[in-house]
C-alpha cells in the first residue's frame, strides 16, 4: 500500500511467514517441525479420508471448517477445545466499522496497474456480491484481497518458494461494495505453491478475501478457489470443511459474461455472510 513506510513493511513482513525454522528465542512450531514435514501426502490423505468417512457416517451437516483438524498440522495447538459461549449480540456487535472513499482508492481494485508495468500471468476478473443470509446486499463495505503471483510466490521476505517475484505485482487489493453488494477485482490468476505441512504439500491456487458485514459478528476471512483444481482433494485447509457442498461454496465459477473480449477471463463468486442479527424496526424511508 502506498501509505505504508518501509519500516512498517519490514516490521510486518518478517514475523508472519511460515517459520520453517523458528525465529531465535521462539519455540519450534510443531506444525513446521521436521517430524511433521516428514509425513507423506498419502499419510495425510489417509487421515483426511478417515475424518471424511466419520463425518459422512455421522449424518450431521456442517457448514464451516473444523477448527480442530489435525491434518492441518498448525491447527493442533491453535484450536479452542472448550465449547463457544452463546451470546445475544448487543449494540456494538450489531454494528460494523464504516469505511469510505477516504479509506479506499478507486484504483485499488485493479491489481494489474499498481506498478509501472504489466504483471506476468493470466489476467482475470473476479466479480460477485456480498449478501447476508436473507439475500440483502451489504452496501459500501470493505473487501480486501491478497494472493500469490502467477508463479505461486507472495511478495514476502520469508516466502522461501524458489519461484520468481514479479516486480509488477504486489497481489494486494481493496474495494468498497456497491449498492447491490457487488465487488470486482482485476488481477492475475495466482499459481499454486508448496508449503511445509507435510512432504510435497501444495496449496490449490486461491485468493484470500477479508470481509465485513453490517454486523461485526459477520466478520469473515476466507479463501476463494478456482474450478477444477486437481489439488482440492489433497489440501487439508480446503478439506477442513468436511462437507463437500459447503467447501464448494469457496470455489468460483467461470463466467463468460464476465470475460472481456481479447482482454481477460472472468470468474464469479458470491459471498454470504452469516445471518445479520439486526431486526429492522426503524422506518425504511431511506431505502433506495
Amino acid at each position: 500500500m502506498s501509505s505504508t513506510t518501509e519500516t512498517f513493511e519490514d516490521r510486518h513482513r518478517e514475523h508472519d511467514a511460515v517459520p520453517a525454522t523458528p525465529p531465535p528465542g521462539l519455540p519450534a512450531d510443531p506444525a513446521a517441525s521436521s517430524d511433521a514435514a516428514a509425513d507423506s501426502q498419502s499419510q495425510l490423505s489417509e487421515e483426511m479420508e478417515r475424518i471424511q468417512r466419520g463425518y459422512e457416517a455421522s449424518g450431521e451437516r456442517e457448514h464451516g471448517p473444523r477448527l480442530d483438524y489435525a491434518p492441518y498440522r498448525s491447527s493442533v495447538l491453535r484450536h479452542p477445545t472448550k465449547d463457544p459461549h452463546h451470546v445475544d449480540p448487543e449494540l456494538i456487535e450489531l454494528s460494523s466499522p464504516a469505511f469510505g472513499h477516504r479509506d479506499v482508492g478507486d484504483l485499488e481494485s485493479d491489481l494489474t496497474i499498481q506498478s509501472g508495468g504489466e504483471p506476468i500471468g493470466e489476467r482475470i476478473k473476479v466479480r460477485g456480491r456480498i449478501l447476508d443470509s436473507a439475500g440483502r446486499p451489504v452496501r459500501g463495505q470493505l473487501v480486501e484481497v491478497w494472493q500469490a503471483n502467477a508463479a505461486g510466490r507472495y511478495i514476502h521476505k520469508r516466502d522461501q518458494h524458489p519461484a520468481p517475484i514479479d516486480p509488477n505485482f504486489t497481489g494486494v487489493g481493496r474495494c468498497l461494495t456497491g449498492q447491490d453488494g457487488s465487488y470486482e477485482f482485476t488481477t492475475i490468476k495466482p499459481g499454486p505453491y508448496p508449503w511445509k505441512n507435510h512432504r510435497n504439500a501444495w496449496r490449490p491456487a486461491h485468493i484470500h478475501f477479508s470481509l465485513f458485514g453490517t454486523d461485526f459478528t459477520q466478520r469473515l476471512i476466507t479463501q476463494m478457489y478456482f474450478p477444477g483444481d486437481p489439488l482440492f482433494s489433497l489440501d487439508p485447509i480446503y478439506r477442513s470443511i468436511v462437507d463437500d457442498q459447503a467447501r464448494r461454496r469457496l470455489v468460483a465459477e467461470y463466467d463468460h459474461e464476465v470475460s472481456e473480449h481479447e482482454w481477460l477471463l472472468g470468474y464469479r463468486w458470491d459471498i454470504v455472510l452469516g445471518g445479520s442479527n439486526r431486526t429492522w424496526t426503524e422506518p425504511e424511508e431511506d431505502e433506495r
Binding site: P84, P97, V138
Partner: protein, 212 residues
C-alpha cells in the same frame, strides 16, 4: 439507547432482485501465513494518538495450547467511544488523527504480543459493563474467533452482565482485562488449554463459529 439511522454500511430490508439460490453462509478459512503485507496498515493499532489525554494502552500476548506465544496472528478490535456511542465515521484505514472510528487492527509481534492505543469504551446503556470486541485470526486457526474484553473496574455491572454471569467464575475472568499500575489494560488470549479464553458465538452462527 435509541439507534440512530446508519449511513454506511447498511443492508436495508429488501433482498437483491436476483439472490443466489443458495444463501448458506460462506465458510471461513485460515488467514494463513502471508497476510502481513496485505492487512496490517500504518496506524491500524492506534485508534487515538498516544498523546491524547484519554488514550489507554490495551495490550497482551496470544498463546497456543503449549503456552507458547503465537507470533503469526492478527487481532482486530471494535468498540464504542468513551460515552458508549457506536462510531459511524469512516477513516480507520487512513486515520486523520482526530476522528475516533472505533476499529483497530494489529498484528502480533515476534513474541506474540499485540498493542493498541485506544479510548476506554463507555457503557452502551446505563449500568451495563463496558467492553470491547476482539477478533482473532491466526495461521493454524481455521476460522476467526470472537471474544469480548471487559473493563475490570465496575464490579456491580460485571456481576450483572448477562454474558459473564452465564459463565463459571474461573472462565469468566478470561474475559476481563487486568488494569496495570501504569493504567494500561492487559488482556492475554489463550487459544487452547486449561485457562483457555472464552470465545463467543452468536445467533445464526449456531455453533458455526466453531465450525460445526
Amino acid at each position: 439507547m435509541s439507534r440512530e439511522p446508519q449511513q454506511t454500511p447498511v443492508s436495508r430490508g429488501r433482498p437483491v432482485a436476483d439472490p443466489p439460490a443458495d444463501l448458506t453462509p460462506t465458510p471461513g478459512q485460515t488467514i494463513g501465513p502471508f497476510y502481513g503485507y496485505a492487512l496490517p496498515y500504518e496506524g491500524g493499532e492506534r485508534l487515538v494518538d498516544r498523546a491524547d489525554p484519554r488514550a489507554v494502552r490495551l495490550h497482551g500476548t496470544v498463546y497456543d495450547g503449549a503456552g507458547d506465544p503465537v507470533p503469526d496472528c492478527l487481532l482486530e478490535i471494535w468498540q464504542p467511544d468513551e460515552h458508549g456511542r457506536v462510531p459511524r465515521e469512516p477513516g480507520s484505514l487512513l486515520r486523520d488523527g482526530y476522528t475516533f472510528t472505533g476499529f483497530g487492527r494489529a498484528p502480533a509481534d515476534r513474541a506474540g504480543h499485540y498493542d493498541f492505543t485506544t479510548l476506554e469504551p463507555g457503557a452502551t446503556a446505563p449500568g451495563r459493563a463496558p467492553y470491547l470486541l476482539l477478533t482473532v485470526f491466526a495461521r493454524g486457526l481455521l476460522d476467526r474467533l470472537f471474544t469480548r474484553i471487559y473493563l475490570p473496574e465496575d464490579a456491580v455491572a460485571l456481576a450483572a452482565d448477562p454474558v459473564l454471569s452465564g459463565l463459571p467464575e474461573q472462565r469468566r475472568s478470561t474475559l476481563v482485562a487486568e488494569r496495570e499500575p501504569s493504567g494500561a489494560l492487559r488482556f492475554d488470549v489463550r487459544l487452547q488449554g486449561e485457562d483457555e479464553t472464552v470465545f463467543l458465538t452468536y445467533p445464526g452462527q449456531s455453533s458455526y463459529g466453531f465450525g460445526r
